[in-house]
């Protein structure tokens, strides 16, 4: 908001005021921290955990969190690159299919007696290539990512199912399957949490503390201004789609090991949970707004609700109602708050204009 200082037309006024001292922020630290969407969703997470611990028997047990994290690991992982993609104003619906494809590739290569690390390596490469195909179709051919990734959603899933047919490969080395479900020694925290934490920090830094991340926000808010500021839009988006493919493949490897089963239809429909988590976490579908901590909280809210309800003996699919309702409520609430702010702002301005001196 502008200050109420009258417009300066002469240099005398400016010289008198000297160099202005601009405060960095318009509001105190606690307000900036608390009055934002991420804070709301993190608060919601805390409330959900507290209520669940108090009312649902056995929820407070550490083992609950163990399963919760294992269950949510793929969503948590993929929501990281998905956040960046949605902030640029694009979307990737093919991530769950890329997981299935990665799972199939591992299964196929394990059947062919490849050592597991080599098979996993190939799966990662396949994931990256899948992401690159999305990226090329979006950036080079100039197609809308929504249509492209609906297409590759079917394509990658189809290839995954075509490669393995109806067979499920289950003969994985015990070392690796144990590792996937292992816990950090001395705790009940799954080891995969370390992978999630490391990647969350990497993506968090990339988005919030690098020039590349500044470019991502600029692309989402104003593609034209981004171009004029030297942001390489096509390259940025391409990199993000490749990262999404890569992380999806990683999630696919984890999924395969955790259930000890490589199948073409692994993780079907997971893309919707990822998108829901990202949007619930406060990222705008129009791009340009959102932050990673909110997204992690969004994913965990879904996970906590799911496991609490399951423990309470309610069918696990109830979570669908809650995810859906939360998603709808969160966007409508944003819309409503923006409307409220606009009307309040314009009312305030009108008052100021009528009371204050004429501005020119």
């Amino acid at each position: 908001m502008t200050t109420t200082t009258p417009p300066t037309t002469g240099s005398a006024a400016n010289a008198a005021s000297g160099a202005r001292n601009y405060p960095g922020y318009g509001r105190p630290f606690w307000q900036r921290l608390l009055l934002r969407r991420e804070a709301a969703i993190i608060g919601l997470l805390v409330v959900v955990i507290v209520v669940a611990s108090a009312t649902v028997p056995h929820f407070a047990a550490p083992i609950t969190y163990n399963f919760l994290l294992l269950d949510m690991a793929p969503v948590l992982l993929i929501s990281l690159p998905m956040t960046l993609i949605i902030i640029t104003g694009e979307i990737d619906l093919s991530v769950a299919s890329a997981m299935g494809l990665s799972s199939s590739v591992i299964g196929l290569l394990t059947q062919a007696h490849w050592p597991f690390p080599a098979a996993a390596g190939v799966a990662l490469v396949v994931g990256a290539v899948g992401g690159a195909v999305n990226g090329l179709l979006v950036t080079r051919v100039g197609l809308p990512s929504l249509a492209v990734t609906i297409g590759t959603l079917a394509l990658y899933r189809g290839v995954a199912q075509g490669l393995l047919g109806t067979t499920a490969v289950t003969s994985f080395p015990a070392f690796w399957t144990d590792l996937a479900t292992s816990t950090i020694p001395g705790t009940l925290i799954p080891s995969v949490t370390i992978v999630i934490a490391v990647l969350a920090i990497v993506f968090g830094v990339l988005l919030h503390f690098t020039p590349f991340g500044r470019g991502i926000y600029a692309i989402g808010l104003s593609p034209d201004a981004a171009v004029f500021s030297g942001v390489k839009i096509q390259r940025t988006k391409f990199i993000l789609f490749v990262l999404a493919g890569l992380v999806s493949a990683l999630a696919g490897i984890f999924y395969t090991l955790r259930f000890g089963s490589a199948r073409g239809d692994n993780a079907t429909g997971l893309e919707l949970s990822v998108v829901a988590a990202v949007l619930l976490g406060g990222v705008s579908i129009f791009g340009g707004r959102g932050a990673l901590p909110g997204v992690l909280a969004g994913a965990l809210v879904i996970g906590v609700l799911a496991s609490a309800l399951r423990l309470a003996g309610i069918t696990s699919d109830v979570i669908n109602v809650i995810t859906g309702t939360l998603l709808v409520l969160s966007v409508i609430l944003t819309s409503f708050l923006a409307w409220l702010q606009r009307t309040r702002l314009s009312a305030g301005r009108k008052r100021r204009v009528t009371n204050g001196p004429a501005s020119s």
Partner: protein
């Protein structure tokens, strides 16, 4: 005057040819694909549920929106219809009308949220995809409607024929023709295209954008409701997962049929033929010696090919127009 020329140039013609090609190739390999009673009926009946929701989806996409909740609407309305059959003696026609009205109401929920709260349809219908399915699961649990619960005279619809044409196909054809007629020949229908072509210009022009978008979602919901009733008639059993995944088939059919994902272009004819092609390929692959696990891959490749092709055609068209203008100047 130029109707023949227009017909050969139309985007829909290409997709129709692709469909015929698939049918002919498969029939050559195995004549019973068409020339047997079951083959002929499957050819005409199998795609109809997806065709119906693809028609609704096309109307929504033409206004530059998308409806991801249709699969969940099918699930809810199918289970509603099944429950009514199981526990009441309401005549089946009334049950069908209730299901269609229910679908329309669910569509209206989507449409109202989108046009009043002004939030993107992708997010809203993703949310209602979950919510509607969740309500369905809550209600259904592990119950299911079995074919023994369904009155025989209604189940007949799934198999009945009129002059060798399956009744389900006739219903779908009537819907398709009505939707196509509306979109092509009425003022309201043309506004769908104007809105999708440039929503801001439509507002500036004074078109009632919100009202049309709401109508599109209501129609999409009602057609999903109709598909839900026919689901009961055709399959006889309904569980909590009925219709899941149909939304992507509907969007895929529309895109393959030449409906542009950002609105303003395409027709329900294209979406309908797209649905025919999609579901017929699924049945044709095994006959052609390709394992049916590859079905999805073919579907995906088709969608990608269709949008790349549309893009190339658009660029060519733009180039041709500039060349024409240069030569005029």
């Amino acid at each position: 005057m130029n109707s023949l020329k227009r017909l050969t140039r139309a985007r829909e013609t290409g997709i129709l040819l692709a469909f015929l090609l698939v049918v002919i190739a498969t029939t050559v390999k195995n004549p019973s694909f068409v020339f047997s009673q079951d083959g002929f009926r499957d050819l005409l009946v199998t795609p109809m549920l997806v065709l119906l929701i693809a028609v609704g989806e096309a109307m929504v996409i033409i206004t530059r929106n998308v409806d991801l909740s249709v699969g969940s609407v099918i699930g809810l309305t199918a289970y509603t219809a099944g429950t009514l059959f199981k526990y009441t003696d309401i005549p089946w026609l009334l049950v069908a009308l209730i299901a269609i009205a229910g679908g329309a109401a669910l569509g209206a929920v989507n449409g109202l949220l989108i046009s009043i709260a002004k939030v993107p349809s992708l997010v809203i219908t993703l949310g209602t995809l979950y919510a509607f399915r969740g309500i369905n699961v809550l209600w259904t649990g592990s119950n299911r409607i079995n074919s023994t619960d369904i009155p025989n005279d209604f189940q007949m619809i799934g198999t009945a024929q009129l002059l060798y044409i399956p009744v389900i196909t006739i219903i779908a054809a009537v819907v398709l023709i009505a939707a196509a007629w509306y979109l092509r020949n009425t003022r309201g229908g043309r506004e769908f295209y104007a809105i999708g072509s440039d929503p801001d210009a439509a507002n500036l022009y004074g078109l009632k954008v919100g009202r049309r978008v709401l109508l599109a979602f209501i129609v999409s919901g009602a057609l999903a409701g109709l598909a839900g009733v026919l689901y009961v008639a055709r399959y006889g059993t309904v569980d909590s997962q009925a219709g899941s995944g149909f939304e992507l088939q509907a969007v895929g059919a529309a895109v393959i049929g030449g409906v542009a994902i950002f609105g303003g272009i395409g027709s329900v004819w294209g979406a309908a033929i797209g649905a025919m092609l999609l579901l017929t390929i699924n049945r044709a692959l095994p006959v052609l010696g390709i394992q049916d696990f590859w079905q999805q891959a073919v579907v995906g490749a088709l969608i990608i090919a269709a949008i790349v092709l549309d893009r190339i055609l658009a660029l060519r068209q733009a180039r041709r127009l500039t060349v024409m203008e240069d030569s005029q100047a």
